[in-house]
Amino acid sequence: MKRLQSIMCAPLILGSILLGLSGCFSKAVQSGGEGQSAQQGAAKGSNEGGVSQNIPDTSFFGQNGSDGLRGLDKNPSEERLGGNTLTAKADPGSASRQMEELRAEQLASEAAGLRDVLFAYDSFAISEEGRQVLARNAEWIKSNSGAHVTVEGHCDERGTLAYNLVLGEKRAKSVRNYLVELGVSPKQLLVVSYGKERPVCAEHTESCYAQNRRGHMVVKAGK
């Protein structure tokens, strides 16, 4: 209960933060509805984007649809049941575009000779070996000032999906920060976390786990 009082000022702090944030809203306007098309050109890792101003009504008043139960009846009338209306909206264009981009990036990254930084279990600290790898990677990035590099943070399969996304981001940011320390322009670097969702090795072994706990750098294709 004492803790409660000590936090009484928190709403004030939050309120002021909210005011500060309100600036984001105006630039966050997106046409919702056909959200797909609105998003195609959206923020490529820049600080653009924000919160949609077009959100369908999700309020819930204790009713959910017309498929509620109607109760048993001694003389039941016929209830006609409709089939499952769920529809997958496949976007094969998007899928093949993603694959093409991935391939192009992989080729560009291999050509650049960028190597992975490996991390210890539960850790996002860069090892001495990692520093040496990054020193070499930094040289390439600095001498290719037009290149944009995405630093991907990855984790092994242990732990939860959600927390590994946060851990992966910490790893990616460790790598980014060290590269910047080495003189790489932050403008050339983009950070993304894939958590444990894109492992390079699928076995449930220590050696596989070690390969998957990595900071992976890819050269962005195109732009």
């Binding site: 890792g45 959910n64 976390s193």
Partner: protein, 446 residues
């Protein structure tokens, strides 16, 4: 580890005895604690085949298929105990709406409810119409107390059984039952992870997205119309998207820079809690879906994520690594009154607040470094490890009746989805195909 706490007294809820118990600052909806509660003995006296279908074989399969689904639903309801009528000398197979004299014999042996019925199919070979009649005999009044008559295409055969099972649960508990609920999950498709929805028993799986990259961590809207999730739409940004199940229509709700993950709509549907790292490290935010106002809930150098709402919508439970490794914390929905809930072990994450309020499920790391499902009460007084053995368990999600959990586990090698009772019994694998199924999330009831 013995676990004797969870006794569900749905009957009491049905007559309005739902107590709201204030426990510290958390609100808990407790079902009445009657340790002597017995499940209601229920027998299925057969779903027989009425005329119509072209091949007798097809007809036999129809009736027994419905009966099989119905029995599995009755068993999973945890409201009834399924009695095998032939094993106590009761003949099964009754076509009419009138209770058989056999039923009284069953009642004398302690069977409280007997259900029976018939199912048929029209002769239309291309698009046959299926119909099913179901009846309920109650031993207390020694009569047929009600029935149902369903019709539809062949795609709704399982649904007929599910609806009938839910009607039974509703009649005897006042609660809607879980047989018509669904589970959304993520399934690996090539190198991509896409959203799928299946029936709660693992059947009738449907693909929802086909983006070709990563879609993660789905959560239902309280009205079951939408699913919110994290989408890597252009691979470099993780947005929070929403998809409408009936139409496949999609909206991007949050596209701040950095991580935008673990969305969760409040029980009234008016707030979207989520984690975003756009102001540095991962913090929690709340978006008012009506005013579009965003409020920052946590301001901390540690990573905060995975918010899950209390049933009242007044509180959130979440993961934070502010004290080192990830631990479970609680706070009010405005970000005040933050307190740590878990102290055992140095890795506790992915909390899910039970719809009944009395438990929070989460992933705990055991001393053997195994990631398992644990339960803890919101006051931190009781803690139970629910699963054990090898494999990484993840993403626990409650059934709307609070009696079951789904979660993913690599216990069998590949990540698959499992169901377990909240008392740790009846572990059941519900996905078997595919290379990687994860992040199951149970729909609300309807």
């Amino acid at each position: 580890m013995t676990f004797r706490i969870v006794v569900f007294i749905s009957l009491c809820l049905s007559v309005g005895l739902a107590w709201i118990i204030e426990s510290g600052a958390t609100d808990v909806f407790l079902e009445a604690a009657r340790p002597d509660f017995q499940k209601i003995p229920l027998g299925v006296a057969g779903i027989d085949n009425s005329g119509g279908a072209e091949s007798p074989e097809g007809r036999i399969r129809l009736g027994s298929r419905i009966e099989e689904v119905l029995k599995a639903d009755v068993r999973r309801s945890l409201v009834f105990s399924l009695v095998d009528l032939p094993s106590i000398g009761i003949k099964v197979g009754h076509l009419g709406a009138v209770p058989d004299p056999e039923f009284k014999k069953a009642a004398e042996q302690g069977v409280s409810v007997i259900v029976w019925g018939k199912a048929g199919m029209t002769n239309d070979a291309k698009d046959p119409d299926v119909n099913m009649d179901g009846y309920v005999y109650d031993a207390g009044s020694d009569e047929m107390v009600g029935g149902k008559r369903y019709a539809g295409g062949t795609s709704v055969v399982r649904l007929m059984a599910h609806r009938f099972a839910d009607e039974l649960v509703f009649r005897y508990t006042g609660e809607p039952g879980i047989a018509r609920t669904k589970i959304a999950y993520v399934s690996e498709q090539g190198s991509a992870r896409e959203l799928f929805v299946m029936d709660y028993d693992g059947y009738d799986s449907r693909q929802l997205t086909a983006d070709g990259f990563l879609n993660l961590m789905p959560k239902w809207s309280p009205d079951r119309r939408f699913i919110v999730f994290t989408a890597y739409r252009n691979r470099n940004t993780q947005n929070i998207d929403m998809i409408e199940l009936a139409t496949g229509k999609r909206w991007t709700l949050v596209s701040l820079s950095g991580l935008n993950i673990t969305p969760a709509l409040s029980p009234d549907g008016n707030f979207l809690a989520f984690a975003s790292s756009h102001e540095g490290n991962s913090d929690l935010y709340s978006l008012d879906t009506r005013t579009k106002a965003m409020q920052r809930l946590t301001v901390h150098a540690g990573g905060d994520l995975s918010p899950s709402w209390s049933p009242s919508g007044r509180e959130l439970v979440f993961t934070s690594d502010r004290s080192g490794g990830p631990q479970i914390f609680l706070m009010s929905m405005d970000g005040t009154n933050v307190r740590r809930l878990t102290f055992e072990g140095n890795y506790n994450a992915a909390p899910a607040w039970s719809p009944r309020g009395n438990w929070i499920a989460y992933v705990c790391r055991s001393p053997k470094k195994e990631y398992k499902i644990c339960l803890i009460t919101p006051d931190g007084q009781k803690r139970v490890q629910l699963t054990s053995g090898p494999g990484v368990d993840d993403a626990p999600s409650w059934s709307p009746d609070g009696r079951h959990l789904v979660f993913s586990s690599t216990a069998g090698g590949k990540s698959q989805i499992y169901m377990i009772n909240a008392d740790g019994k009846d572990l059941e694998q519900i996905t078997f195909t595919g290379t990687h199924n994860s992040a199951p999330t149970w729909s609300p009831a309807s």
